[in-house]
């Protein structure tokens, strides 16, 4: 399908070889930036940001919980988007991106759930509360697990890529519906419960480190994605001549 309005690099990305090279160049930069940001954000959030007047120091879990939750959601979107691109333009790299994102996103959902649960203990007094956000995050994890299970159940790589793309798109349509319905269900059963992260405007001393952490997490897990993607490219392109050349030179 010839599409004129898309930039050239978009189609260059379709070439596994080009993608392998460009990620190889990007990885060191991402490593430096992401580790700097995450270390900075962690120290800032843990030691320098002021304690919350209600929750005290347990509030500092926010600097881990919120970035993990945001990334788990945006990685699902990325997975569905990459799957759609793979379906429409038959782009192999997009398929590989979608496959590589899934386990990372699932691990982030697990992190968001665990930190949410641990945070709940000092705040609500129990390890698990059927709070709207935690429940939708749990459902998001289920969606991730479904995608991963389907992908590993189908042997042919192209079929698996296409099938998971359809599933993740269906999931993407459903996420807002699930979110809305869970929130609605929650207000029905737990009126006026104490929300973990809904605060009346955080002061800058609190949200600036949070922003640093969010950006740091994006770059850090972008890095993790590139590492996985490169393995995937090598494995699927093992018969291509450039991979053979690369391997024989490296030896």
């Amino acid at each position: 399908m010839a599409v004129k309005w898309l930039p050239r690099w978009f189609f260059q990305l379709a070439s596994p070889r080009w993608c392998y090279q460009i990620t190889g160049m990007l990885i060191p930069w991402f490593a430096v930036v992401s580790i700097t940001l995450v270390v900075l954000g962690t120290i800032w959030g843990l030691a320098f940001a002021p304690a919350d007047y209600q929750q005290g120091n347990s509030f500092r879990i926010i600097y881990l919980h919120v970035p993990a939750a945001i990334l788990a959601q945006s990685f699902y979107m990325l997975m569905a988007l990459a799957g759609a691109i793979g379906l429409i333009w038959k782009m192999k790299v997009a398929d590989m991106v979608a496959k590589s994102v899934a386990p990372i996103g699932a691990s982030l959902a697990v992190l968001a759930l665990l930190t949410g649960a641990i945070w709940g203990k000092p705040t609500w007094g129990s390890w698990w509360v059927w709070d709207a956000r935690l429940t939708s995050m749990l459902v998001l994890l289920f969606l991730y697990l479904g995608v991963i299970a389907l992908n590993s159940a189908i042997e042919s790589e192209t079929t698996a890529g296409q099938a998971t793309a359809v599933l993740s798109l269906v999931g993407l349509v459903n996420i807002p519906i699930i979110k809305y319905s869970v929130e609605w269900w929650n207000t029905l059963h737990q009126p006026a419960s104490f929300k973990l992260t809904e605060k009346p405007a955080m002061p800058p001393e609190m949200w600036v480190p949070l922003l640093v952490m969010v950006i740091g997490f994006y770059t850090l897990f972008g890095l993790a994605l590139m590492l996985r993607l490169r393995n995937e490219i090598l494995q699927r392109e093992r018969r291509a001549s450039w991979v053979r050349d690369l391997l024989s030179v490296k030896a």
């Binding site: 962690t42 881990l64 992190l111 850090l220 993790a224 090598l234 030896a251």
Partner: protein
């Protein structure tokens, strides 16, 4: 600095267990997400190279 001393920092106003448990888990997941693909990369390269040598040997 939001804390008086290092002990205060570790204690986190009585919530030390929760905060440090969270950050420990965070570290674990971050490290796993970086190290596992790196390890896998070594494995993939080794495996592909072996395959290549086998093909060259038979050809």
């Amino acid at each position: 600095m939001a804390f008086e001393s290092f002990a205060d920092f570790l204690n986190m106003g009585g919530h030390g267990l929760y905060v440090w448990l969270c950050y420990g888990l965070g570290l674990l997941i971050v490290v796993a997400n970086l190290l596992l693909p790196m390890q896998q990369s070594k494995q993939v390269i080794r495996e592909l190279r072996r395959r290549l040598r086998r093909e060259e040997g038979s050809a």
